[in-house]
Symmetry: C2
Subunit: 198 residues, 2 copies
Amino acid sequence: MSEVTKPGGTRAIARDAVRARISEVALDLFDEHGFDNVTVEQIAAAVGVSPRSVHRYFPAKEDTVIGDPAGWGEHVRDQLVARPSDEPIWDALLASYEALLATPGRNEAQGRKAMRVLGSTAALRARNLEKHLLWAHLLTPIVAERLDGDHRGLRAEAIVQASLACFDIALTAWAETDAEESSVELLRRSFGALQPTA
Amino acid sequence: MSEVTKPGGTRAIARDAVRARISEVALDLFDEHGFDNVTVEQIAAAVGVSPRSVHRYFPAKEDTVIGDPAGWGEHVRDQLVARPSDEPIWDALLASYEALLATPGRNEAQGRKAMRVLGSTAALRARNLEKHLLWAHLLTPIVAERLDGDHRGLRAEAIVQASLACFDIALTAWAETDAEESSVELLRRSFGALQPTA
DNA sequence: CCTGATCTGTCAGTCTCTGCCACTTGTGGC
DNA sequence: GCCACAAGTGGCAGAGACTGACAGATCAGG
């Protein structure tokens, strides 16, 4: 994503800008009226393009909120593989997620708004689930490699899914509180709930 | 559901039968051609009713596969509240899910087919997620009551979501294997993955 | 048999999403 | 500066899921 001065770049720049603008306008409308009460036609009108073009930038209405899942998933995976192999698996996962949350360049208010809208609409929760499944596919083999004993595949899947659940709960809680607590703090707390012994 | 000879019951019986028939036919079609490649019109034609009637029995196409989530969720909740209050929370949850899986009157082949179709389609996974959220809303307050210390709400949520993830993973694995292992066995194993210390 | 409630089908309409085609606009070569 | 080509855009038509309204059919109970 975002090459360094790609040949013929002005067009790509314009495209990215339009894409960001659609996403921004859509999020505002969703936050105000609710996802289901806003039509693609309204978004298009607010941005100043045709409904057809909105669908060219975003295959589905939900994608205006979710964004690009694959990129962040690979980021988490890279963090996880970089962890020392003798580290407890839960610590490694927690650290990987923390690195993601600590990534700069993320607008706090915008992020909260996105999470709020996301949590309040079934269609968006569904898209978020697909993102999690994508992440799980990336993380599970790595986790399985670090386990001993039988049934590593199943156990790795359980661990990854459970950790993703914690991640989600932490972000949801973070979106609902008013900046009183950091997302990292909430993430650690939800992770801690699964390990009363640690 | 299914009262004992409800007054004016013949109509209710017919209704339940038609409902079951639609669900059965739809599941077969989905399993053969894929969920997205089967239209409501085709299901209606195969059953012998109008498309409008199919939507009368099932608000959404996905509901023909998922069935009634609320009923089973309440069943699990009842199991959980009946557990001794000094039992470790994970044991109580495991036992509650086990009781659900052990419920008789569930066609094994039909169940596997439903889980197989469910796992292979995004729209159905989404509906399944909504079921889980419904269950989570029922179970979380009960779990929170059994916890000590701070942040019981968040911790209870993490525990419930993680346990539901285990439940789902076990059922998915069960649907993919060929009757070699019982669903209860797989459930215990996935639960065990989260408690290496126990 | 008749009355009223329930069930069903048909029709029209909304909304998301997808091809298709024509038109405009920016890009690069000459 | 001009021109061919690619990329972006808009309008149109259509599929498919779902909803509301209306009219006819069906069945329980008096």
